[in-house]
Symmetry: D2
């Protein structure tokens, strides 16, 4: 903690601040600077409570130095976390993993058709929403338990790992029983009850960045899961809220190298939800690969124009095939293995 | 739905769009304009699926006309919703309701001291967090069930209505059993499982705006609760995420008249969480009253510098007394009754 | 400057950082903390260049302590700046100044009608745009020199101080010759050539906050003007860019107490441009007064529906009269004098 | 223009709206929909004034259909604009142009050293700031005329095209006399006096996106220049203001395909200013190339840690060489020619 004094703080005020720091059991270090003095605090074992200090006369503000997250830090685990999904290695830098499938599970037939297609395209992880978070109560809310059952059967039939969203604590066991990865949606990134609960689950967690979450908040949300005992966490950028209106959300790709500098966790990119228009998916997917993301989540369905949800941002088979060709070519040039 | 064509759309393309609209069972209305043509659609009973139309050659974009929310609309219920909290009327324009109390319930003694004090100040609704949503897993998480018990006892002892946050579906019954109002926090505004669940509860809901929620999303979140059968909903502005860094969040007071124009639901303002610094609470509280808010939620505790959470934004008793004097005076001048 | 080391920084790395600080001619102060060490720097007379330090192994980041603005600081001038506009005192806390007039000067007749009306309403400062910044080159760009001439004549005729926008360095002399206050628009808040130029002018400057300007940037823009020698600066909040779409911009009223805490300069609010809809002007104007703003800039014209610019946000005479009654009543209750 | 009526609008109100549209000289087209009616307007030759209509009882809102920009539209010029810079072709899709050089021109020696180096690296366009827009009046403001002279001489000596920022109308001739490209900085994107003035210049314009500019505003700013007669405009994304704090600004790469869909103008990316940290430049530069940008502007200087401005985001020679190798390899894989 650093206590910055006002430029007109008196020596008596400065001494009073030092005295308060000593009374807290810590040691003050006065540092006169250009224009104003700052006082450093040492001797603390954790965060210092700034409030009694900020309330003193002559104090301008307090600057915390210590970060709040620990387990997610790369400093704690220099090599990247690698997660094994039925034999497919995710994270660690050598691979680029594409997770694909429809926005919503709609029927056995639809999922079977998609699974066969994406497997042919080299995909190893199948997505499909059973519980759907929808802005309006009048929109399609997903097939729920029936959707889980379909996803599970189709994944097993085609030998694909599966991922689906879990929306509340009461369905964690059901989802963990049916799918290989538990997805936490952007709207639930700070649903702390849910984070604590999936921290106790045995399946990997795919944690999407909230629509206005800072990097620190994203890492702290992941810290909840690791703190609960589940160290298999993948992060995912899916666009943030800004004033810009040419895309549904603003895809913040700079979080990819930012996460990789601070944390050992894999970081994915979901361009479908960020962009909201299918014609921007391919360029942004290529950008995600080029800036070093560990993988991609992308929506694909045979007939997106008649999908029950999010059709505007979903690729059809032809568009997906074109995307995969482009990504495979680019991954090769970048020395990454597409899986 | 309005289909806007490109400026170079051919007559054949225009006709193809009209044919598709007819095939959907609706009627197209061609409207040649300056530079480009638009085609209106009539005959639909609900939202029109834009995707098959946007995919046609010559189509620039589709503009939806119908809003997604219904039950919250003022058009449906011109007089404002008034909620009765143990005899105190909230909403409807004649009153200004101040909800006050500590950020967290910390002990019987603390709650008793606060309850006595705020009741003396004319307060009718006591707040106190039992389950606390905290960004870091290492921060104090609330007294939980013990906190509920204390809040319930202290409310009963002093004859105050009580409000506390409910964080997940599994504790809704507990919270509804202990408190008079169920608060949904900003981070849970789009926790749709929770919204559906409190829509079945018998207690009023206090719904905070999400940190990057649009007005439409806030109203649709409330629509979930009304749609579930619970029509007693209060909304609350608590600051939104922007680039501005002089306050913790940016308090968006313009949402107060915006809500009142569109919806019949009461709208509160929480300046404590938005601003994050206690010295800005009084000016922003006065602004909230002046622009027509139905009430205020404000944090007060005997010794904020040593509170277990959010002390920086919490008033002490002296500051709260000063705030109430200022608000009472201002409310009088504005013809509003403080309660 | 505070240099924060990584948690795994070695003693040798720590010593290398201290050696570099000494080589810069400053003194290092090592402060071991919980988990990581920070090194304070003293002996500097101005900002320290962080880059050589950030490049060293073991360094996490550098935190600057010194602010960049000086002349605008309240610490330098505890009493608020009061500006005399033809006998009307602006700033300092006792008054609330309403600046009113049309968005654009359109004709002698229009300005004469507005001037007579607003003077009757107690207004002392007349606004009217001669040079108009317009997003599109195809929109009305103002009457320019003819507009200045009309504004000047009408101001003189009715004994009103006048304010109009200056858009570039080449017209500063013309504008300063015709009007009593030089307005810098939001889009020019960081037009540093213009700021330097008006710093040499003899007329007060009315500086609008840029659409995404932080408080620090606003104060530094004002610092440019004071640094040039012109100490008569009024600041003005007019809404900032956010994701929110229920108003044109988000009016950030919390900047009013924030400016007043840091700076001695008066702070105004312009609700017309922020909100973009006339029915929200009155509630937000009352909020601006209630939170302590020094004044208001508001648009009024006889027939806003046919104004050449910004009609949607402009009050008609009846609406303005209602607004002034409400403000006068509220100002009285708050112990402020409307002028 | 589409006039959306309230759900409870009466037939008489609907007819009054139609009558007003007819009185304006246009034709109304009533379109009853689900829940509410909309009225289309035809017969207009330009934008319709919505205000008289929005003021009528029963009207909910008006939706404009026509865009305000014309000359920049791809619909008007399907093939992309290609600009010839001393024989180097910029834009059009086949090439990827890297503009490089120091943030500020500091001396003949510095520029000579940089020019030799970047030319060796295959660069054809040299950047260097002579007039510097600085947030603080106390920061280095550039060598101004002396800087222009140095840039001009060094460009001629090494046969490089040159680019430098022009900050006001009074120095456009000087800058156009000394450099090959006129840069308009982000803070001046809506300095309309300057846009009009460079619209009359004979040199190409490099227009940076404002820190909170929408795509429409960026295109309209370019429209000002084209409307003035100068059709040689390059656009540049350099990061926008958001709540995110892990980078200085948020690089919005999705504007690259968005611009390319709507406009024929080339679009560049400047990762240095957006990111503010040199270790993120390479990943974001590769992403810019991968998503289809026409080029890059990047800062390089021999000793960035002691540069007079923006050193934190500037590459040294070794870092730049590594960047160029990565880009050349990637461009080859993508079928683009680096120049």
């Amino acid at each position: 903690m650093l206590v910055v004094l006002k430029s007109d703080a008196t020596p008596a005020q400065t001494e009073a601040v030092c005295a308060e720091i000593r009374a807290m059991g810590f040691a003050p270090h006065s540092m006169p600077g250009a224009g104003r003095t700052a006082i450093g605090i040492t001797g603390n074992k954790g965060p210092v409570n700034a409030l009694p200090l900020e309330a003193l006369p002559g104090v301008e503000r307090c600057i915390p130095v210590t970060q709040a997250y620990k387990l997610v830090l790369r400093e704690m685990k220099p090599e990247g976390t690698v997660i094994d999904l039925k034999g497919t290695k995710v994270g660690g830098g050598a691979t680029f993993t594409v997770i694909a499938g429809p926005c919503s599970v709609e029927s056995v037939r639809q999922m079977d058709e998609v699974a066969r297609f994406v497997k042919d395209q080299g995909i190893r992880v199948l997505r499909g929403g059973a519980f759907k978070p929808r802005t309006s109560p009048y929109s399609f809310q997903g097939l729920e338990q029936e959707g889980l059952k379909i996803l599970n059967e189709i994944g097993a039939k085609h030998g694909l790992a599966t991922i689906t969203e879990v929306m509340d604590t009461s369905t964690v066991d059901d989802v963990a029983g049916a799918a290989d990865i538990l997805q936490i949606g952007a709207r639930n990134m700070q649903n702390f009850s849910l984070l604590k609960r999936v921290g106790k689950a045995s399946k990997p967690v795919f944690l999407k960045r909230g629509m206005s979450a800072t990097l620190e908040e994203l890492l702290l949300a992941a810290e909840y899961v690791l703190h609960g005992g589940n160290h298999q966490v993948m992060l995912c950028e899916r666009g943030v809220r800004t004033f810009a209106d040419h895309t549904r959300n603003t895809l913040d790709l700079s979080i990819v190298p930012s996460v990789q500098r601070l944390s050992h966790l894999p970081i994915f990119v979901d361009p479908s939800h960020a962009i909201g228009r299918r014609y921007f998916i391919e360029p942004m997917a290529k950008a995600a690969l080029a800036c070093g993301a560990d993988g991609l989540m992308v929506e694909v369905t045979p007939d997106p124009d008649h999908a029950l949800s999010d059709g505007a941002q979903t690729l059809d088979f032809k568009g997906f095939e074109k995307l995969m060709q482009a990504l495979r070519h680019l991954a090769g040039a970048l020395g990454r293995k597409l899986n």
